[in-house]
Symmetry: C2
Subunit: 509 residues, 2 copies
């Protein structure tokens, strides 16, 4: 069978990834170093992600705010670990005016140099912490539960669209609590919001758990993540939730008077997911014909392509198609009105069909004169594109039947994408009892090795550094300690000591 | 009658404006020069504006995208007028890393200086034009109709929250067309979208029309605006739509092959509204008790305050209030589900009531034990807060009656706010037949002079400069030439020549 993309996942996964992004009109290089242009279909997916996740963030009691893009250097200097983690990749604003350079160009005006340089936010703990210090006086002011949707900048040396770009879009939640227990509960609650959102909305099976010490967010006491498995077996960290203890509160002076009148430091958290999730959706659900978008996050769930011929009969065909579109738009699927598009762009029907296949619209229906005459539509399900004989599986069915089944069909596609990815994830996590087994599993030349689960003694400091170095030789990192893993019952694969937990080892993005 | 704010509009309009922003929890100074923190109630209003305006932008065929925050200097240098208009207020990124300064602080790393400085976008014509040049090859690719919701930075010397901040949030639409006529139509269509959005959603009566040459967007052929009148009689430009002709297309090389195979320059437009609109809502609808938010953009339309007493009876009262909330949330008003909040925060009922009055929630209902016993609620309408005798107008009515009337009541409040502002606008625009009349109208000491409408000959170049100077002496600017004004039938108040159109003169923000 011939596929819509010129490069397959199997032949070159990295090239395939770029090709999906281009062919599905998701994004493109902008000409500005490390920054991408997110095109309508890619941005439409992001808007769906925003809408669905925002509902869940609000349903758990958080309110949206907006904080400045610029952060004065002095704000960063207060939290040593934090600044060390980010200083190497910060975009710095130093001037506020341009003047002609006398050669027809422009230069930053030396007379308009800022007294204190401003950093373009790489994350907003410091500037939001400063606001928290203003807002929080008493235990009655707690908890403070806020979120912001924003752009952030981290000057990455090697960029890859959606996965690692100098500028990216995200949401960052920030909360302050009276007790450490409450803050830890919040950290885990938001991890669970991310986990269930990824599973239910993105059809992305993930493993939720705590990151090891060396992978913590700079300044955090504990970092939790959801990890998804791409089709090349690599892990993608798709969301993180941090318990910050009193580290940032101490640096930013976030104190409150408790019920007994004593001053205490607040306990804070932060948590975020970004446009990186779209990279995960591509690498989990894409196939050799392009992207497959889970119906919940598809900007258009059903695309109707009438087979126009620049003939007078077109008019009746368009009327028939419009009627179907308006019927579909009146239905509800997966808890929301169905999003059905009638594609009347000036292009050939076959070109449009394959365009929507590459974009990954969950259902494409084609309507020709014969379909209309028979009161039928021809239905293509993006998750089951081909028949067993390799031919395109376009099912002709009575229009009324399709309309009646469409909501259930969309739900079935959402579920099918999830089940397929879940089965792949499950099959590709295998245990390794000792380090030799890990080395064998990830030996050179083994294609798509997936992840291994090992038991370890959770070493810290220099002992952990040694473990990280051994893993580096295999290009591995510790992803997280799955929250739902069985209790440890063996020995640490690194040290031979009694193990305390299970962790996942993987190559990663 | 005693008011909730300590400063009245009449006593000091500017101080009153700041006090509404603070007391209604809309925004606050961030500590970062010229940048504000938008707090939950203010951001909630912005989210409502986004949702409603985005629907209209999409309904007119536009798709959302996202373009880079950073624009290389060289992109700006291509359009001379444009860069001249913005160069004086641009934030410039020159470094991509920080290093310790040896004194415990940080400095931009001299070894990490960018080869080409990057400007933080003040507006995106140049970077989006570059993308258009990639996207557009043939007449079949046109029109391109896109929009982006983003933050932009203009380094303003004097800032005022919402009205003029260094960083602000906005949407910017950008389109490319095959003909000048089509582009002009688009420019006017989006102006009309803004006009009807301001009137219908923000309850903001506005005057739509073309700006004079001296007020054009840098690089534009024509600029149109909607102008709103604040309660101090000043004008606020609340949205603009620009016909850019082929100026940007020539600079960015946006060319297409027409149906005859010849290369032509595309005709482009851009249009935007920003968080400034919230400043307009405050200054049009606010009163001496705080903000009054039109129901369509109110994050919460009905707030329920049970009068709790830390007694066992509270439980029944909360259950009663919850039941009312859920009934209200099941209703639809102004085309959307009713947004009803049950306020259970730990504060006194009277404090909460006045908090919501200051925030401007359209309806506040209070419920005490006696109300519950009688099956009643006590209803406060924010747009009619006091009775004729100066006392708070809280109307006790059967719960069922209130629930039945709530949707109509919200619609009535939306309409009442609009009508009140419309009447004020209409009364405060007066004609002036000659310049002496203009001078008399805006003589020193005249409080709240409103706007005058004059006829003029639409001078250009040096003649226009002279007019602008004469107006400057009166602190006036030409706002726009109202699209719905009567035809000119007199002489130009500035030159005595035959007039060609009517324009509005006003002081402005």
């Amino acid at each position: 069978m011939k596929h819509a993309l010129s490069v397959t996942r199997d032949a070159d996964f990295a090239a395939w990834y770029q090709s999906v992004i281009a062919e599905a009109d998701l994004a493109e290089e902008s000409g500005v170093r490390g920054c991408m242009v997110i095109r309508p279909w890619g941005y439409g997916i992001w808007e769906r992600i925003q809408r669905l996740l925002d509902d869940r963030i609000k349903a758990t009691g958080h309110e949206n705010c907006y904080f400045p893009l610029f952060i004065p250097l002095s704000y960063f200097e207060k939290e040593a670990e934090h600044v060390e983690g980010f200083a190497k990749e910060m975009a710095v604003v130093t001037h506020h005016r341009l003047v002609p350079d006398g050669k027809g160009g422009l230069i930053p005006d030396p007379a308009a140099k800022l007294e204190e340089p401003l950093v373009v936010r790489p994350t907003s703990e410091t500037v939001i912490g400063t606001a928290f210090a203003r807002w929080i006086q008493s235990w009655r002011d707690l908890p403070v539960l806020i979120n912001q949707w924003a752009n952030v900048v981290r000057w990455e040396m090697r960029t890859r669209m959606f996965l690692r770009t100098s500028e990216f879009l995200w949401q960052e939640g920030h909360t302050a609590h009276a007790t450490a227990d409450e803050a830890r509960d919040e950290t885990r609650k938001m991890l669970e919001v991310y986990r269930s959102f990824a599973e239910d909305c993105l059809a992305l099976p993930v493993v939720a758990g705590e990151k090891p010490e060396n992978e913590r967010f700079p300044g955090a006491v504990a970092t939790y993540s959801i990890e998804a498995m791409m089709q090349d077996g690599k892990a993608l960290q798709a969301g993180t939730s941090h318990f910050l203890g009193t580290n940032f509160a101490a640096a930013q002076n976030i104190r409150f008077q408790n019920a007994s009148g004593e001053l205490e430091l607040a306990h804070t958290t932060s948590w975020g997911v970004s446009t990186r999730m779209i990279g995960g959706v591509i690498m989990v659900h894409g196939d050799d014909d392009g992207l497959r978008v889970p119906p919940r996050i598809a900007p258009w769930q059903i695309v109707i392509v009438p087979m126009l011929r620049d003939q007078p009969e077109d008019e009746a065909l368009i009327a028939y198609a419009k009627d179907i579109q308006s019927t579909l738009a009146g239905l509800s699927a997966l808890g929301e009105p169905v999003r059905a598009l009638l594609d009347l762009k000036p292009a050939k029907a076959a070109t449009k069909r394959w365009g929507w296949v590459k974009k990954g619209a969950p259902i494409v229906i084609e309507i020709g004169g014969r379909d209309m005459a028979g009161g039928n539509v021809s239905v293509i399900r993006r998750d089951r594109l081909y028949r067993a004989d390799g031919k395109l599986d376009a099912q002709v069915m009575p229009r009324g039947d399709f309309e009646a089944e469409a909501p259930a069909l969309l739900a079935a596609i959402q579920q099918a994408l999830h089940d397929e990815a879940r089965a792949r994830l499950k099959a590709a996590i295998v245990p390794a009892a000792d380090f030799a087994a890990v080395e064998a599993h990830f030996a050179e030349g083994v294609k798509n090795p997936g992840w291994v689960e090992v038991q370890w003694a959770r070493p810290t400091g220099a002992a952990l550094d040694a473990v990280v170095e051994r893993l580096k030789a295999l290009k591995l990192t510790i992803r997280n300690a799955p929250a739902d893993a069985a209790a440890a019952d063996g020995v640490c694969v690194f040290t031979g000591e009694p193990a305390v937990e299970r962790v996942l080892l993987a190559r990663s993005y």
